[in-house]
Symmetry: C2
Subunit: 348 residues, 2 copies
């Protein structure tokens, strides 16, 4: 963890400003979570997941747990993308091992129920968590805030739970584009306010997760993924100038290049399926982050070594942040994370 | 359904040989299935799905049902990609509304249990179905046979059911590549024999479904998706010269171009997420098939009209077969399929 004194800025921020940082900074999506015994210990005492997100002491503690264990270059705020629909007044429940369950938006008329003006006020405990984490975080570790992208959050609000076909959400988006756009507008506005409030509380960068954009065809990808993200980038930059923005359009596939060019994100987080040669091409225009298969981390050993070296070799010569292509899986042995950090820091 | 007498060949085969056919031929993945009341009627009397696949009379009847209703340009054999593991000696069960359940391959040692030499003999009823369908099919309608691609079939054999993370299959592929390659070799060999036997029985073309290739990163996509498909294409061409081969690497994303170039398929079936501008580029080197969102078909009306016209406009000027980007959803109203056929035949 020792850093030369001539490095005045956080490695993560140096990489996000297109500096070549070698070895690259590393953090992992879901680095705080169920695979850590100290996290499960807290969950045993506080089983209500959303209450945990709104408890600054506990949420700060969970955010810091993987930093203490592994000395990663960034912490990511312990929270959830569904605090936004919760703050808008939709009932959100997390069921053990099953994924979230939301009260569903059935019709466009129900949009008037959403408490847009006060949503961010209700998220005050989240910003308090940011302040506490910042006070306790080692000075060489960055703090990343986040929000879900509008399309992804909208799918949860309309489906209620994780229908993998997204029949309701797509039927609404395709069939009543004006009403769907009104919902997206609410989510754009609330996301900007939520991200700007995290910045004001002290996060060093933010990531916007579009976990389900990969199911949208063609024009609909542009309309429901790219355009809202353009507005979020512009809105956050207006309220929090200089805050780096990482986009994660998971599964964007052949839409990835358009997403990067059109949204103007500072960095793009790549899912596991993005070929490394393509990722290296992208580095010419944007900082890339990614994209180790979480199953290579779960497997550990030679598999972890081979997959990690392949990525560092392909991307380590450009602006790069090491990460997974998706979140840490719950069954991952914590010591594999330690081994991964050592592998990346060894630089080869 | 009337065709000019000067057209000596099936429209589907003309399109597959790179002729511009206007309006384009149309068939739909899962065009025979649960959305049709006449299919559900048969299933009520014959609830064992695999037994149905091995009953030439009933399987032929199901294959013909959508042709009678909608006058599509091709029938696709009613069967399943899991008849191959079944024929290899793995127990396969289909659970109502839940997806298949397979006896799992736990270790590489168990590969010796697979009955490779006799597998295709056990699929004789499938080839009898082909012969019966061919006898009854209108002469302007093609018959398509199919198989699952080795990676996709291997995931079912190793996972036992549909784990969306593919932890076991990937752990095996990444961690014991030699043993996994032995399984893939068995599936390549059996798939070639199965496809060639369908050709001998009379199918006009075949499609190879790689439904889960979209989860493989980089080199692993090449090794477990592209290379086995290269060998299937070569093997089928050696045994059934001139038989057109359609590849369906669902979710291939940024690996799609490499798949098309390296496998040498005659046509590529595109999933819903492939942007139409990219699909039009691909038409320069390969026949494309696709890629209407099944949810647009489920929605019907203006949504179906707009999505269909967008695709026909973008791809109708090159070698093209109209299809969905994935299978017909069970809740789809049958009359929407009739409307889709009329829309495509209207040519705009």
């Amino acid at each position: 963890m020792s850093k030369p004194l001539i490095t005045p800025r956080l490695d993560l921020l140096r990489a996000l400003s297109r500096e070549l940082v070698s070895p690259p900074p590393i953090w992992l999506m879901r680095q705080a979570g169920r695979y850590l015994p100290e996290y499960r210990e807290i969950r045993r005492k506080a089983p209500d997941f959303l209450a945990l997100c709104y408890s600054p002491d506990l949420a700060a503690e969970i955010t810091l747990q993987p930093i203490r264990r592994f000395g990663l270059d960034a912490a990511i705020l312990f929270s959830d993308i569904l605090v936004v629909p919760d703050a808008l007044g939709m009932k959100v429940t997390f069921r053990e091992g099953e994924g979230p369950l939301l009260e569903r938006l059935e019709t466009a008329r129900e949009l008037t129920r959403l408490r847009v003006p006060v949503a961010v006020e209700r998220l005050a405990p989240v910003y308090e968590t940011v302040r506490r984490v910042k006070r306790e975080l080692p000075e060489n570790v960055a703090l990343i805030g986040f929000a879900g992208a509008p399309w992804t959050v909208a799918t949860y609000m309309i489906e209620g739970s994780g229908d993998r076909e997204f029949v309701r959400a797509k039927t609404w988006a395709y069939g009543d584009a004006a009403a769907f756009a009104a919902l997206i507008d609410i989510l754009v506005e609330t996301s900007i306010a939520h991200l700007a409030a995290q910045a004001e509380a002290g996060v060093d960068a933010v990531q916007v997760f579009d976990s389900w954009c990969g199911v949208l065809p063609d024009d609909d990808f542009d309309r429901w993924c790219i355009e809202p993200m353009q507005r979020i980038v512009a809105g956050v930059r207006a309220k929090a100038p200089g805050l780096p923005i990482i986009g994660f359009p998971r599964g964007a596939g052949l839409n990835l290049g358009r997403y990067v060019a059109a949204t103007g994100v500072d960095a793009v987080s790549l899912d596991t399926t993005v070929p490394l040669a393509h990722a290296a091409e992208l580095q010419r225009s944007v900082v890339v982050q990614g994209n180790l298969d979480p199953i290579a981390l779960l497997a550990g050993g030679d598999v972890l070594g081979a997959h990690t070296r392949r990525i560092v070799k392909a991307l380590g010569q450009g602006p790069f942040i090491f990460n997974l292509g998706h979140g840490v899986l719950p069954r991952t042995p914590p010591k594999h994370v330690g081994e991964l950090v050592a592998l990346v820091r060894a630089g080869r």
